[in-house]
Each structure stands twice: as C-alpha cells, then as structure tokens.
Symmetry: C2
Subunit: 122 residues, 2 copies
DNA sequence: CAGCATCCCGGCAGATACTG
DNA sequence: CAGTATCTGCCGGGATGCTG
C-alpha cells in the first residue's frame, strides 16, 4: 500500500479501486453469494433475499463490466444462464471476508454509536 | 432492517455493516488520512486533495455519527478543531489496508476489463 | 479557517408491467 | 424464468456564497 510515494491515501489512487467496485449496495452481497459456485439468477435471488430482479441484473452487469463476474449461457432446453466469479473476482474474496468479519464483530458497536448520536442533545 | 434467519452472506446481516459505512466515496479516504494522527479539517483537505469543504464536513459528520471518528474542539486562540479516529474506527484500519492493497495490485486488471467491455460491442 | 445554506446533477435502488 | 422498459424517490457529491 505504501508503494506509491507520499500519495497512497489520497483521492486519486488505485488503492481506491476496491471501494469504487464495492460501493454499490448489492455488489458485495452478490459477489459473496457467488463465492462457492456459479449460480443462476433465480437461485441468487432466493439465496440473497430482498433484491429485486431488476437490481440483481443491474448489479451483475456492473460486476461483469468490471471483470469480476462472468455470464455463461447454455443453449440447452430449457435455456440456462449462470453467473460465475472470474479469477479476478475470486481474488477479492479474502478482502470481502475481512470486512464481513469486521461487521460481525463490531456491527453492534456501530449501532450503539448511532443510537447514542441520535438520542443525545438534538 | 429486517432480520432474516440464515447464513452470513444474505442481504440483511451485520456482516454488511462495513460496506454501509464505507460505501460513500470519501469515507475510506478520510479514515485513511486520519490513520496516523488527529488532523484539522484544513490539513485533511490538503492531504487528501480533490475534496470540497462541504463534502469533507459531511463525511466527517457521518463518520462521527457512526462512532468511527471523534470531533475535538480546543478553546484556544485561535480556536482549533481536530478530528481523530475512535478506538472503534481504529479497528477498521486493517480492513482498509487489505482493500487498498487489493486495489494497488488488481486495479490495472479492472481498468483493462472495463476497456475491454467498452470497446467490444461498440 | 470552520461550517452552514442553496441549488443542481447524476446514479442507485425500488416498484410495476411487459416481452421472449 | 431471464431480461427489459418506465417511472419515481432518494442521497451523495460538486459549485458557490455567506457567517462567525
């Protein structure tokens, strides 16, 4: 991270790439739901829960556009569509897990801080 | 926020807390700029670069509201204001660094994928 | 220099209905 | 079941100007 002399924490820096990719509400969730195996959109929706079909396809398109996810359509009967992580997308999984662990561990503290901030002297 | 029984990669889950906190464009950058020592807003602006005063205060307010950053005003002459990471905010630094390292390492691959995706169907 | 008030814009996300 | 097309609301972010 300190490879870039004196500017690593600045606004324009490749170190921010991950944040831009994961900044959308559903991108991390979808990536995480794909971590074991390729999935069909319907299966993703069931697995994730609370995401609309439109938003799911939008998210998948975005991930595909960024090279993190691959779309595979199989001309069978009935036709089948699956989405899978690319090798690049797979390199992101450890970082995702790190953040997930942090959330599980400190999520309560964040909620507590929010409550504190909202109750106190408005 | 509904609570859905099930596994940790679902939509509503404390594992997503970190993404909600860092989902804003500038939150990660500001946190990272605060990692060594408390800073004054002016110093932060210079250090970060490319952030407007308004957006910086908004970001700091949000981080403060979430318990990641603390605002300290010193009644000196001239009056001084500093922002510092809270202990909770400091626990986030390793995860930030993980993502930063990923970006430095794979940012180019993402850019390449984007270029590829934008040239082909056009 | 800190910070707030306004106006504006664009993108994310949700709901709904429709096509193959 | 996969995917698209509208329409809508919300919020983050930028620009500018004003106050203490």
């Amino acid at each position: 991270m300190d490879e870039i002399p004196g500017q690593t924490y600045l606004a324009d820096c490749r170190a921010r790439a991950a944040f831009d990719l994961l900044g959308n509400t559903w991108s991390p969730v979808v990536l995480w739901a794909l971590r074991d195996a390729p999935r069909r959109p319907g299966a993703l929706r069931t697995r994730i829960g609370g995401i609309s079909a439109k938003v799911l396809t939008e998210t998948l398109r975005r991930l595909e556009h960024n090279g993190l996810v691959e779309r595979c359509s199989y001309p069978e009967s009935p036709p089948r569509v699956e989405y899978a992580l690319t090798p690049l997308g797979r390199t992101l999984l450890p970082a995702l897990e790190t953040l997930g662990v942090w959330g599980s561990r400190h999520g309560d503290a964040v909620l507590a801080a929010q409550d504190r901030a909202e109750e106190s002297p408005r």
